[in-house]
Symmetry: C2
Subunit: 465 residues, 2 copies
């Protein structure tokens, strides 16, 4: 489906200009004023055209627990999360749809889903998420979340000697599972990608990391993990390796220009230099880091050191939304309190570049995605500048990033295929989705996590509380 | 207009319950299951009923510059703001309407507008804002922003000897102006209140504060000011008084149970104890404090010390929105990174109480507003729990506070009068408002502030940059 967007506003070096954009066979074919109409004409008047953003870290099935998770730090929160994790693939399907819809309607055309797998139904979980993303038409980076140590191993031992249950599935079996998922579902040309995604140093052995590196090399897969989200993980890395987690990951060869690392809150300056040197990408999840009290990631330092940074919503139980514009806003302004010199602060235009080109870089796709460039794939979003939330007319990018845009995504395309029109997702029935989410849930506040009750005392001791 | 809301969900000690609510002559007459219908029946099914929130600090006319203000700290930002401030009462009218609409559609039924006055048209500015708020029907607390020192006096002198232009209007003339505004517009029974509102210690003499105290006592007016928003103001207070700003304000008798103070970022523990002892209220503006790099207000300490805290959006040029739910969310989760002990973190239910009863307390109206209590005024909001952003069904208050609710305010009443129905403001034509805002503005990014150019070097020196 070829088309030509007419008279859209785009950001240029010095302000804005009005242009037409031709899209042919899924790619941007021309950007200039007064172009001939190729294919369908699309009215771009009073609309801002931007490259689609990346929701570069989320866990879709957390949508089932948003709003209800206790006010807890990551380690305890995770215990509660897993006590009530959805175990039905139909739930995975619906929450992947919901994640895709909320991401799209806040400017995201790509989603990196660090997907929690239902034990015993791992391939079915992956198949289900892939199906949902294909139906919506969002560009999907499905990163099956794997580990080979059990959850209590993620808390530092401190002075005490802790023993942990072995994880229920062997490292080898886990790696075979991922390889099978790659064979069945990894179709980059169709907008579906599988990533190797060991959850992080807190719950993974070196054998798992090394196996993932091998798969990544063999199949040209991106790598995705959590990294140093909490103080507890910083302590744990020292206990486990006698060095920082970043030093260890560098040593075993996990870092690189197709490795994206969610959170990165507790890194030393030397660690930051390693990320820059290895061209690894930081995925900043500001809302989750606040909600879980993880800390403020040193994003200004990353930028000054030349580390690529992009944004993620993180799972909807630690956010508790999938509004990418909210993550971009807070992930931009939050850092102004960490550096007195305002010349280092992130500008709205820089935020847009981080959310688009930064996301593409993190997935090793900067040559194909992330900017309005002739020859790149047409993952595009048109924002309605006549929305009350983007008025009065001032600086459109400033309004979009620093304001609270509501109902502003008018149209969106992925790979040149339109999937949002007149502010609505056109590929699935969102009213039916709402009805399904409603029917399969109930208002509830009385639940209690058994696991939190078991581990809380140890956590408080180790963390000096 | 009497009415009965049927089958609405309300929060109770242990979870939620479904009730009917009778409203008679603007007040809550009964709350119980299965009540007789008095007046009009309102369907409350699948909706959460909460008391209206307070947008307890804003500057409505800043809406004209949202999205375009440079990335600067308060003192320089303020210079830019005033270089481009709107000077036409029609603009004041439209931005007050816009502020009211965005506040209402994010759960606020009261707004405290620290209103910037057009020089030479001060009473007209106040009259215009009052007119706008009366038209929308939101409960209005108009706090004309006054000062009697010129803007450069707000930056500490440091080592240098600074002289400042005298302010263009005398202290006496300013106080007479406020007294006249009180005579003309202060009508608490009609939902319009005038406050005395010296901007803060940075630009006001003791004569102005003292005059405001006298007016407050004579006419029973609430008091509203900025307080210690920035490090620069902390320095300035020491230069000006040789003690902290809070100690000084206590000494001159400005603090009390009808005094609300916006920001309160840079207070010592002794200052915090003074706020508690005087029963003053802190208005927390988290988004503005991040955007301007002012800092993170010690909100958990305030709560532990017994200081009343509520939320404000602050003006839309430092936010850059008037979405109260966004301010409540960020103002709640932001503090989790300031205290390792999660037992001190703010829960969603506490946030709701801060936004409602906390706001009422700060305006000395806790006996009349801020909770679902028989006998209190019916400032009420019904949230649609079938909105995608509040699904799946988990904990409604958790979803509302921690999520990113979009299009969720279904109905709202102020003083028992319905002003939002089916998600739309019914009292004014919002499409016409959008059209006016559009017509009276243009996309622009090329402006430069003369005043910032003049004062920036001094600011950088004093702040050690």
């Amino acid at each position: 489906m070829n088309f030509t967007i007419e008279n859209a506003l785009i950001a240029i070096e010095e302000g804005y200009t009005t242009v037409d954009v031709q899209v042919v066979e899924g790619k941007i074919a021309a950007i200039a004023p007064n172009l001939d109409v190729v294919g369908t004409a699309v009215d771009g008047r009073n609309q801002l055209l931007l490259p689609g953003f990346f929701n570069a870290h989320t866990h879709s099935s957390e949508m089932w627990q948003r709003g209800i998770m206790s006010v807890l730090p990551l380690e305890l929160w995770l215990a509660e999360l897993y006590d009530f994790a959805p175990l039905d693939p139909e739930q995975v399907y619906l929450s992947a749809l919901g994640t895709a819809v909320e991401t799209l309607l806040s400017g995201g055309t790509s989603v990196v889903d660090h997907l929690v797998l239902i034990p015993g139904q791992e391939l079915e979980t992956i198949a289900t998420a892939v199906k949902a993303y294909r139906e919506v038409g969002i560009r999907a980076f499905v990163a099956p979340l794997i580990q080979d140590e059990s959850i209590t191993a993620g808390i530092p031992s401190g002075e005490s000697a802790q023993t942990h249950e072995p994880y229920f599935r062997s490292t080898t079996a886990t790696l075979e599972l991922i390889e099978e998922a790659v064979r069945q579902f990894h179709r980059p040309d169709e907008g579906v990608n599988i990533l190797v995604a060991p959850t992080g140093i807190q719950l993974c052995t070196d054998a798992l990391f090394t196996g993932c590196i091998a798969l990544s090399d063999r199949y040209n897969l991106c790598r995705h993990s959590h990294l140093l989200e909490t103080r507890a993980q910083e302590k744990l890395a020292q206990e486990k390796y006698g060095c920082t987690a970043v030093e260890h990951l560098k040593r075993i060869g996990y870092l690189g220009d197709r490795t994206s690392l969610a959170h990165c809150v507790w890194l030393s300056d030397a660690d930051i230099a390693i990320l820059a040197e290895t061209q690894s990408t930081v995925v900043h999840n500001p809302l989750s880091n606040l909600r879980l009290g993880s800390g403020i990631a040193p994003i200004l330092k990353y930028r000054q050191t030349g580390v690529n940074v992009t944004f993620g919503c993180d799972g909807a139980s630690s956010n508790d939304s999938q509004d990418l514009l909210e993550a971009i806003k807070i992930g931009s302004i939050l850092h102004n309190v960490t550096d007195l010199d305002y010349q280092h602060w992130i500008t709205p235009r820089q935020s847009v570049e981080m959310a688009s080109l930064g996301g593409a870089k993190g997935l090793n796709l900067a040559d194909q995605l992330g900017s309005l460039t002739v020859g790149k794939k047409a993952d595009l979003v048109l924002y309605d500048l006549t929305s009350l939330s983007l008025l009065p007319r001032t600086d459109p990018v400033g309004l979009l990033v620093l304001g609270r845009p509501t109902n502003v995504v008018n149209r969106a395309w992925v790979n040149g295929k339109q999937i949002v029109a007149d502010g609505k997702v056109t590929t699935i029935n969102v009213d039916e989705l709402r009805q399904e989410l409603f029917n399969r849930s109930q208002w509830d506040t009385q639940r209690k996590s058994q696991t939190v009750a078991q581990i809380e005392a140890h956590y408080r001791t180790v963390m000096g509380l």
